[in-house]
């Protein structure tokens, strides 16, 4: 388990990560979202042991990460700006990583390279941006570490590669309990893979929730009332967002499906429909409740 307590990192006068408390459980896929400059990369670099926290603690399985070789052998960091040795090939990089990662699975590396159609002996400098990303991910997955820290990893990947990699992550999570921590500024990227999400803003974490819990507790309902209501038709339920166009209402409300359906029975609308919420909508709702405008935070 990854645990941070009041983890803080300051660059000169800039407070990049500000007293962040979070827990990431083994086998979960943690999405770290936030706008540019929110502190995602810095937080991830702290988790990877590159940066030492100025204050607080960053621990994996109750051990400090910074300068801890044994813990770092269980972590692999994929940077948003990957580094490859000059004139090196993917096989060169693989051989180098093998020196450090004891569980490096060469057979898997071969399989993934073949699967992605990458030539292990071709100079990496001749690869496209997306192919370089793929090489990094392949090395990261082949290292067979317990934790994988991905910084904007899906950026620059084509949709097929993106889905493939998500599938690989999901497979590793299911098969061997991999814990990926994925930082991104794009909510849609994380929607179909993360089961836990933390929102960083100006170095501080606004909230950190389980995605299923959030989805279960929030619903979007579209309904047409037969006649104008007297008083608030949704009194008794916690409406986070309400839109009205004539007799058509669209609300985002907190509560179980059963609670909302019960309310619809009372209202007897001409039509009602329970719509699925996107991750973005969930975040917008949650952050608005917290007094923030997510659109401003992420755009």
């Amino acid at each position: 388990m990854i645990r941070t307590e009041k983890a803080t990192k300051q660059f000169g006068t800039l407070l990049a990560v500000d007293h962040v408390d979070t827990e990431i459980h083994e086998g979960s896929v943690f999405g770290l979202i936030g706008s540019n400059g929110a502190g995602k990369s810095t937080f991830l670099r702290m988790l990877a042991g590159i940066l030492a926290p100025d204050e607080g603690i960053v621990r994996i399985d109750e051990q400090e990460v910074y300068e801890n070789e044994e813990i770092k052998k269980r972590c692999f960091y994929i940077s948003d700006e990957q580094f490859f040795f000059p004139n090196s090939t993917p096989d060169d990089m693989k051989n180098y990583y093998k020196t450090f990662y004891p569980n490096f699975d060469e057979a898997r590396y071969r399989m993934l390279m073949d699967g992605f159609g990458l030539d292990g002996n071709r100079k990496i400098r001749t690869f496209s941006k997306g192919m370089k990303k793929q090489v990094s991910v392949i090395c990261g997955l082949s290292a067979c570490t317990d934790y994988l820290f991905c910084d904007e990893t899906f950026d620059g990947l084509d949709p097929v590669a993106r889905q493939t990699i998500k599938g690989l992550f999901a497979g590793d999570v299911a098969d061997r309990g991999l814990t990926p921590v994925i930082a991104s500024h794009n909510l849609r990227e994380l929607e179909d893979i993360c089961d836990h999400v933390g929102l960083l803003h100006r170095g501080g974490i606004l909230f950190s929730r389980d995605l299923d819990d959030m989805k279960l507790g929030l619903h979007k309902v579209q309904l047409i009332l037969r006649q104008p209501p007297e008083g608030d038709p949704f009194a008794g339920i916690e409406v986070l967002k309400r839109e009205q166009r004539g007799s058509l209402y669209t609300i985002t409300a907190r509560g179980t499906r059963e609670q909302l359906e019960e309310r619809m029975t009372v209202l007897q609308p001409a039509f009602y429909e329970m719509l699925p919420l996107t991750l973005e909508e969930i975040f917008i709702s949650e952050t608005e409740v917290a007094g923030y405008d997510l659109k401003k935070l992420l755009l």
Partner: protein, 731 residues
């Protein structure tokens, strides 16, 4: 499993294979620094051998071989500047290359995310950098030695020489490499690394030179040959020290080993400097590397706390430099000096702040520090200027002095000059040290005292302290009357004479069949330019004369100072092997005999029959006297030009041939040769009215007669002025 997997060797190997350019550069550099000079010498050897086959060529084949072997040994030895320069460049390049990743965020993230501790990463990189150069240096050296041996040119290469060369070069390579590593770790940008590297190598020596300039400007007693400062200059920079340290002590540099000292612990002790400094800087680099924050990549200086001290030092340095430059531009103007000082500090502060922030807007950041630094620089220079540290009045405590000497162009026991600033030549006995100390006290009290009548003198006192420090002070205006007695007391003491007198320190070699060692004997009637009156070639006889004269010099030291000599002995002596090149050299010295040295004169008379003679009409054919009024001379010259000079002199010269008049003129006269080699207190009269007197002296030997013209001098108050005037009036 994990610790087994981490392979130090494979990481080092990877580091090396990914830097093939450095290996190629190492091989090429070592080839250029070692093999190329060897090939050039070998080519020259072949040419010289062909020339040696010619009958009238100055060198024989054996000479050519020996010279070539010497040259090859020089290239292989620690003295070779070629390989030193190559190793300095390679050390700097590899030091920066191995740690330059610290200046790139992508690489820092890559390396620091890997499961390897900073300490191990440092060790891997440090060792990789060393292995990029040293094995190839040794391989090329071995190839060179094989080639040299195969050509038969390695005769002068000994095991000791090789050991000196290899150990010295490796030690200094590691030192310069570590300096480069330290600079790279300290900075977050490669351009700043280069600037810091230049600064680290040249900053302290240049600062020392500037401090010397200030001392020369402000201190009356400043002595430029202060060995401590020279030591600081050399030892203040690894690169300067490396280039200046030599195996042989005949150069002006710091000797690493003398030709015989390598086998002794003392010779090897000099290696302590690079070894100790490498360890200290290496540990510091390791400590800083481990403590270095990854996020400091890209910054000018990676450690916030060292930013300010570096800036302070650079600002003071810059202030000193600009102050001296402005003083030179405005030819010694103190206004220029003060303006330059403040300007230098301010300019440097602004530049450093811009570099630190990589932002021109940072020009006036920390402006309060800038003002404080400018004030501090002014205070320091004002302090030096006003001698608040008591430089001019400083005299070491007599109990702290291990040895001392005085270098004076006037108070010298003989006209042959000894190197009294050389530590090996200093006086070590307590009595002499006490005398020198008393002289120093007198000098401090009276330096520049213009109220005392008479001439004043300039001399330098050198001290070597018991703690190894060396100090010197130069007193430039000390009245002679004040120090005369102490000076005479010192320079006539037995210890002083035995240390500095040419006569006492002379070494006589065995006379060979060619009579290389010989002693020529002359009295006043046989001046230089004529045949000597006698020549001794027997070693025993020469030694007997020298020993007697030595005893007489100590017994009659005061007479040697105050009198004119009556006889001149010239010894030509084959010097034994010179330490620097094992070759002999001809050494010639004039030894003067005085009337007080009766035992020596008796011995010379017994061995050669020669005794002192007075100058009379019997050995002087004629006396020429030239006397003229200077104004008349200049008027004449203006009128007739330089072609009229001979005619003017001729018109104002009389030639005396009358025996009685010659005898009267020669009654107290001394020849120029004897006068120039007289004791320093033996004063001759000053000529007035452009008077010049010379004698045509005849020297008879067997059937041969030699005549030479010698200038005549007179002891003070003994010049026959009246007679000279009468002679001119009669004309």
């Amino acid at each position: 499993m994990t610790s087994k997997n981490f392979s130090f060797k494979s990481l080092v190997r990877h580091n090396m294979t990914s830097r093939m350019w450095a290996i190629a550069l190492s091989v090429l550099g070592c080839l250029a620094g070692l093999l190329l000079p060897i090939f050039a010498i070998q080519q020259n050897y072949r040419v010289q051998l062909e020339l040696a086959a010619e009958p009238d060529y100055v060198f024989t084949a054996a000479d050519v071989l020996k010279n070539t072997q010497n040259n090859i040994a020089q290239v292989i030895s620690f003295d070779s500047p070629f390989i030193k320069l190559v190793l300095i460049v390679l050390a700097t390049l590899c030091g920066v290359a191995m740690f330059r990743y610290l200046h790139d965020r992508r690489q820092v993230d890559f390396y620091h995310a890997l499961p390897i501790s900073r300490g191990k990463l440092f060790a891997v990189n440090y060792i990789s950098g060393v292995l990029l150069v040293l094995p190839f240096y040794l391989i090329v050296l071995v190839i060179g030695l094989i080639f040299v041996s195969a050509m038969g040119l390695g005769g002068q290469i000994t095991g000791a020489l090789l050991a000196q060369s290899i150990l010295g070069n490796i030690a200094y390579f590691l030192l310069n490499y570590t300096v480069a590593v330290l600079c790279t770790v300290l900075t977050g940008n490669t351009i700043i690394t280069v600037l810091l590297g230049i600064w680290a190598q040249l900053g302290i020596p240049v600062l020392m030179v500037m401090v010397q300039c200030y001392q020369a400007m402000f201190y009356e007693t400043f002595s430029s040959a202060v060995p401590l400062m020279q030591t600081l200059v050399l030892y203040g920079s690894p690169m300067c020290n490396y280039l200046a340290t030599m195996q042989h002590s005949h150069t002006m540099s710091v000797p690493l080993f003398t030709s015989t000292a390598m086998d002794t612990a003392g010779g090897m002790a000099i290696l302590l400097y690079p070894v100790v400094l490498t360890i200290v800087l290496g540990v510091l680099s390791y400590f800083l590397f481990v403590r270095r924050k990854s996020e400091n990549t890209g910054m000018a200086v990676s450690f916030r706390r060292v930013k300010a001290p570096i800036k302070w030092f650079m600002c003071i340095f810059s202030g000193f430099a600009f102050s001296l430059i402005f003083t030179a531009i405005f030819t010694g103007s103190s206004g220029g000096m003060w303006f330059g000082l403040v300007f230098g500090v301010v300019l440097c502060h602004m530049v450093v702040e811009i570099i630190y922030d990589f932002d021109f807007k940072a020009l006036l950041h920390h402006w309060k520090q800038m003002i404080v630094l400018a004030i501090l620089a002014v205070v320091v220079v004002a302090g030096i200027k006003n001698d608040v540290f008591g430089y001019d009045s400083y005299i070491p405590d007599v109990d702290d002095i291990a040895s001392a000497s005085i270098e004076s162009p006037y108070y010298n026991i003989d006209w042959n000059y000894n190197y009294q600033d050389d530590i090996k030549n200093q006086l070590t006995d307590a009595e002499s040290i006490e005398k020198i100390h008393q002289l120093a006290e007198l000098s401090v009290a009276n330096n520049g005292d213009l109220e005392v009548e008479g001439s004043s003198h300039t001399y330098t006192i050198y001290y070597t302290l018991k703690n190894g420090n060396r100090v010197s002070r130069r007193y430039s205006e000390v009245p002679q009357k004040v120090i005369e007695n102490q000076m005479v007391d010192l320079v006539t003491s037995e210890q002083y004479l035995k240390q500095y007198s040419t006569l006492q320190t002379l070494q006589i070699t065995e006379t060979n069949e060619e009579g290389v060692t010989r002693l020529e004997v002359r009295n006043s009637a046989a001046p230089e330019g004529t045949l000597p009156q006698a020549t001794l070639i027997s070693r025993n006889e020469i030694q007997e004369v020298i020993d007697q004269l030595r005893a007489d010099q100590i017994a009659n030291a005061e007479a040697h100072l105050k009198e004119f000599p009556v006889m001149q002995l010239t010894i030509e002596n084959e010097w034994a092997e010179r330490p620097e090149d094992n070759r002999g050299a001809l050494y010639s010295a004039d030894l003067m005999v005085y009337a007080a040295d009766t035992d020596t004169l008796t011995l010379i008379k017994r061995l050669t029959g020669v005794e002192p003679v007075e100058l009379t009409h019997e050995n002087v054919n004629s006396v020429e006297i030239t006397q003229y009024d200077e104004q008349e001379y200049y008027d004449y010259m203006n009128q007739y030009g330089e072609y009229g000079q001979d005619r003017f002199i001729e018109a104002h010269t009389i030639t005396v041939t009358d025996p009685a008049t010659i005898d009267a003129l020669l009654e107290s006269a001394i020849t120029g040769t004897m006068s120039s080699r007289s004791g320093f207190l033996a004063q001759t009269a000053s000529y007035e009215n452009s008077l010049a007197i010379s004698a045509m002296i005849e020297n008879h030997q067997g059937n041969e007669t030699w005549a030479t013209k010698e200038s005549l001098f007179y002891p003070e108050g003994k010049m026959p002025t009246e007679l000279i005037n009468q002679l001119f009036n009669a004309q």
